[in-house]
């Protein structure tokens, strides 16, 4: 696989059956909300949708302090205190939405969670298209007990995926129709998501 296309975005530092947390190699370089990422534990390949990203201090008890009083711009702060880049870290959390077992794609949870220190890659458009041939993963997203509003994550995820398609509109409509069926009993949630993926 071409390394130009497969962008490495982090490394797993915490994992469970339903999600994994990865730390970014560079501060603030977490993949966009809703994007499809994957991590490998051959022969398994786990797919996740980024649903949350955080930037915090390296040490849990130590909060950053305001430093810009005498600086002209925000960038100046980082230039005058280069250690900051090492004292802070960016992490993101991905919800596991499917996996590939021996090259075969499944839209359900993998038999075991990701390994710590596995590399996390952002999926290239080809793979996004392959994965989104089926919308079964939407059900996992809809029912995930995550602290972020589900509607937002689903909308973001569909928006992200649609970028891999030439005919974005057709993809959005197809996804919308799937959601309309899944959310037949919850019209307001459906409206919120559709509002988020429109155009």
């Amino acid at each position: 696989m071409n390394t130009d296309e497969v962008k490495r975005v982090g490394e797993v530092i915490e994992a469970s059956t339903t999600e994994f947390v990865a730390q970014c190699y560079e501060l603030y370089q977490s993949p966009p909300l809703g994007s499809l990422v994957k991590t490998k534990d051959l022969p398994l390949e786990l797919y996740g949708v980024v649903y949350n990203a955080t930037t915090t201090s390296l040490e849990p008890g130590r909060r950053p302090i305001a430093r810009g009083k005498d600086e002209a711009t925000e960038d100046e702060i980082y230039r005058s205190s280069p250690q900051l880049l090492k004292l802070l870290r960016s992490e993101f959390v991905a919800l596991v939405v499917g996996h590939k077992d021996n090259g075969k794609l499944h839209h359900y949870l993998p038999p075991k969670p990701a390994r710590i220190h596995s590399f996390v890659y952002q999926c290239p458009p080809d793979e996004v298209r392959e994965f989104s041939q089926s919308f079964d993963f939407l059900n996992i997203l809809l029912n995930a007990p995550i602290p972020v509003p589900t509607e937002e994550i689903i909308a973001a995820c569909i928006r992200q995926m649609s970028q891999a398609y030439e005919d974005r509109h057709a993809f959005l409509v197809a996804a919308g129709k799937e959601l309309a069926i899944l959310l037949s009993g919850n019209l307001n949630q459906l409206k919120a998501i559709l509002g988020g993926i429109r155009g």
Partner: protein, 539 residues
């Protein structure tokens, strides 16, 4: 139509019953607005293919809240997503036949349904081939009457079956009953399945007349000169219209029997007592002389004595007298007719020549009822005699005879249906090889007993509830057909159901009136004269 369009998928069966038909949920790709009641569909069951007709179309929502707080459909994206998922269309299909699949249908063709397709069977628009399979193609017995909605396939009537029973053509005024009747008459002529006697009230079947658009339309005699004879009651009118008539009908008073007057009770405004008086007078003076004698009675003691003797009240006599005066004013009635029209008509019919009786200016209903009844009664009696002789002596029965009457509710309404000859013909059907083709715009006026005996009904648009009900009496799945019937277009569309078609069908009637259509009607072996006429039209 391309192959792909032929197998256009509409949706899947989701519920239903044999009695009420099945519900089909439309795919999101099939628009509700493209559906039309009366269209044919096929349902691919697991073991059989079903053939049916769309009888209703409706809208559904997955969640009632959608109807209360409708989404913002001005946004095309939202509208597109919701179409076919949260909001969807359903069509109601009445499966009527099975085509292909089991042994019986392979050997004997389409069979009527005895079950319903299983859940989620795929529903397609019927292809040309399917429709052909069901309605057959034109042959010696089958006559092409029109095409189904949105299709080019021919719907054919089995005319041999058709003439075995009495048939009806119904529809509001101006919906094309006359054109349909012409078509059917031509069909019967062309296929030679029966001879026709047409009581042509408005003189439009024998010789050319004008269509509503003012175009000249040719009629039977011009298309089949050797097979049609035009009789007329009104020589002058026929001459003015340059009709070549074969016989001028004159009827003598002596041929009018008391029963003929009884039928005219309503139109002549006679009381029940007057009708009784007619019978008494007929007994007194004799069946053949009574009208003349009654009309000759003068006010005086003699008359009074006679009336007292017959215990006829003075007012009854006046009432009857007024009625008879009306009849006397009909110019085609003479004290004695020089020729016998019944014999003449029978001569022609016997030779296999169809007779159209034009009424010319006498479009008055009294004249029509009187003449139609009088002639039909005698012709029927003769037919009965010939038929009985044919059975007894084992010789060929006479040609099947079809009598065409207009304004049928005047002959076949509840009060007189039991008395008129038409009521009898309609009921006893084909025993004597005489059947009716009734044309009417108020079918609700026709006796329900007669209506139920009508084999094939062809109805154009009807919008009166009672008329629709009466046309559909005795038809299974009445309510489904009702919605189809009331949605017909007001021109050139008709619903055909009954004996001569395997299932109810809505047709756009075959074109009539262009030179090309005439050419289609006349096969090559027809007379040279007609071909010459056609050629002239082309010049």
């Amino acid at each position: 139509m391309t192959q792909q369009e032929e197998n256009q998928r509409l949706g899947i069966v989701v519920s239903g019953s044999l009695n009420k038909g099945v519900e089909v949920r439309l795919d999101s790709s099939a628009s509700v607005e493209d559906m039309a009641v009366g269209r044919f569909v096929t349902i691919e069951g697991q073991k059989r293919r079903f053939f049916g007709m769309i009888t209703d179309i409706s809208l559904g929502v997955i969640d009632q809240n959608l109807t209360i707080t409708p989404p913002n459909t001005s946004d095309p994206f939202i509208a597109e997503v919701l179409a076919g998922t949260s909001t969807y269309g359903t069509i109601h299909v009445l499966p009527t036949l099975t085509i292909g699949g089991d042994v019986a249908t392979m050997i004997e063709g389409p069979q009527s349904v005895k079950t319903v397709p299983s859940h989620f069977s795929v529903v397609n628009l019927a292809s040309q081939r399917d429709v052909e399979l069901v309605f057959g193609s034109e042959d010696e017995k089958k006559f092409y009457i029109g095409t189904p909605l949105d299709m080019e396939t021919k719907v054919c009537l089995d005319l041999a079956e058709f003439v075995k029973r009495s048939n009806g053509i119904f529809g509001k005024s101006g919906t094309g009953k006359t054109f349909l009747t012409r078509l059917l008459l031509i069909g019967m002529l062309q296929k030679g399945t029966a001879v026709n006697l047409v009581f042509d009230m408005h003189s439009e079947y024998g010789w050319e007349s004008r269509s509503e658009e003012g175009r000249k339309v040719k009629a039977l005699k011009q298309l089949f000169p050797s097979k049609v004879a035009v009789f007329t009651l009104d020589e002058e009118s026929s001459r003015r219209r340059k009709v070549s008539t074969d016989f001028v009908v004159r009827i003598g008073y002596d041929e009018i029997e008391p029963e003929d007057i009884a039928l005219l009770r309503q139109t002549l405004n006679l009381t029940e007592a007057s009708v009784q008086a007619v019978y008494q007078l007929a007994r007194e003076f004799g069946d053949r002389r009574w009208i003349e004698a009654t009309l000759a009675m003068e006010d005086g003691d003699e008359t009074k004595q006679l009336l007292t003797r017959l215990s006829i009240h003075e007012s009854t006599y006046r009432n009857l007298r007024r009625g008879l005066e009306t009849i006397r004013r009909l110019p085609f009635l003479l004290p004695h007719s020089p020729d016998n029209p019944v014999r003449r008509i029978l001569e022609y019919l016997d030779k296999g020549i169809n007779v159209v009786l034009e009424f010319g200016r006498y479009t008055d209903i009294t004249a029509y009822i009187l003449v139609a009844n009088l002639l039909s009664r005698r012709i029927h009696a003769q037919y009965q005699e010939i038929m009985e002789r044919a059975i007894g002596e084992d010789i060929a029965p006479p040609h099947p005879l079809v009598i065409t009457i207009e304004e049928a509710h005047k002959f076949l309404n509840q009060e007189v249906a039991s008395q008129t000859i038409f009521g009898i013909i309609a009921r006893e059907m084909r025993k004597y090889n005489v059947t009716l083709l009734v044309i009417d715009q108020r079918p609700s006026g026709i006796d329900s007993e007669v209506m139920s005996q009508i084999g094939t009904k062809i109805t154009c648009l009807l919008d009166n509830e009672r008329d629709i009900d009466s046309v559909l009496t005795g038809v299974p799945n009445k309510s489904e057909l009702k919605s189809v019937l009331s949605k017909l277009e007001s021109r050139q569309q008709a619903l055909i159901f009954g004996h001569a078609v395997p299932m109810p069908v809505v047709v756009r009637t075959r074109e009539y009136g262009s030179a090309e259509s005439y050419r289609d009607f006349i096969s090559t072996k027809e007379s040279k004269q007609a071909e010459k006429d056609i050629d002239e039209l082309w010049k």
